[in-house]
Amino acid sequence: MMLVREGDQASFGLLLERHRGPVIHFLYRMVQNPAVAEELAQEVFLRVYRARESYEPSAKFTTWLFRIATHLGLNWIRDGKNERSHSSLDEDTREGIARQVPDRTKTVEQRLLYEARLGEVRQAIESLPAKQRAAVMMHKYEELEYTEIANVLGCSESAVKSLLFRAYESLRARLAHMA
């Protein structure tokens, strides 16, 4: 990032290569829409580029990056843009979702069951308050530490633990039948 700050375009390319995956995945799980996730991820990197000259390495770069991504994701959710929150199987395929259908030898029933379970997981995540959702996404999928999540969300570490505890408790209750 320090090289990017000095105007090195190649370093910005490297930064994109290294961080686009986690950012896109995080935003997709937040907004549950691949097209929106990609657009928001572009905006994240655009903001990083815009702010490159004022960047101060006071915190970890990923913390700063996820703070921008979380801010955009939460704003998008808050503004009620998530009317079409999760897409159907056909839409996902069209929009480039790498579905985790393990193999094509599965029977139709098994695939339907898988889709049904996936739908339930998505609905359970979507039912979480936005901040809890962001905390779970960062903890479960991006494997960020409590302190990092606290920095991203602008709260204390104990508040993050509390957020996560309540979020996992809700998810466990909603998805208990899947155990």
């Binding site: 290569e17 686009r20 995945h25 996730a37 997981v121 996992y168 899947m178």
Partner: protein, 161 residues
Amino acid sequence: MDCPIKGGKDAAADLIVGFCAGSLDPATLVAFERHLEHCTECSAQVLAQRSLWQALDQLPAPRINPDFDEKVFQRIAQEEALGILASHRLLSWRHALPLAAACVALGTAVFMKSPEPTQAPPVTPPQAVQIEQVEHALDDLDMLKQMGFENVGNADAVKPI
């Protein structure tokens, strides 16, 4: 290890979530594993959290668009182009405003310092009549000389007949 559930929700959550996420430090991990051997309540919680973990693992990750980077660079280029235009616009305004002010000041100064407009004397057209009058006068003089006025043209010498 005391049962974390009896120690409070936060402590229990921290341990159970940490255990499933694999983020416990080695000493705590060993102690908690020993505790799980005889605590059915904590074991049930761990089981529930593990199955939740597995359920969440099913959530797919989107395939990243191969031209994602290109799109970002395009947006940067667009922004920079717009930024350059905007700065040109700003520069032109920055220059135009003082220039306009200077013009107004200069115009005012010129207007204030210029002499008051005076009425130009009426331009008289060349009098062709005057030539005729001179000719007439000369003719009259000749005529008078012929009539016996010798000293015509010399006022002192003119004597009436």
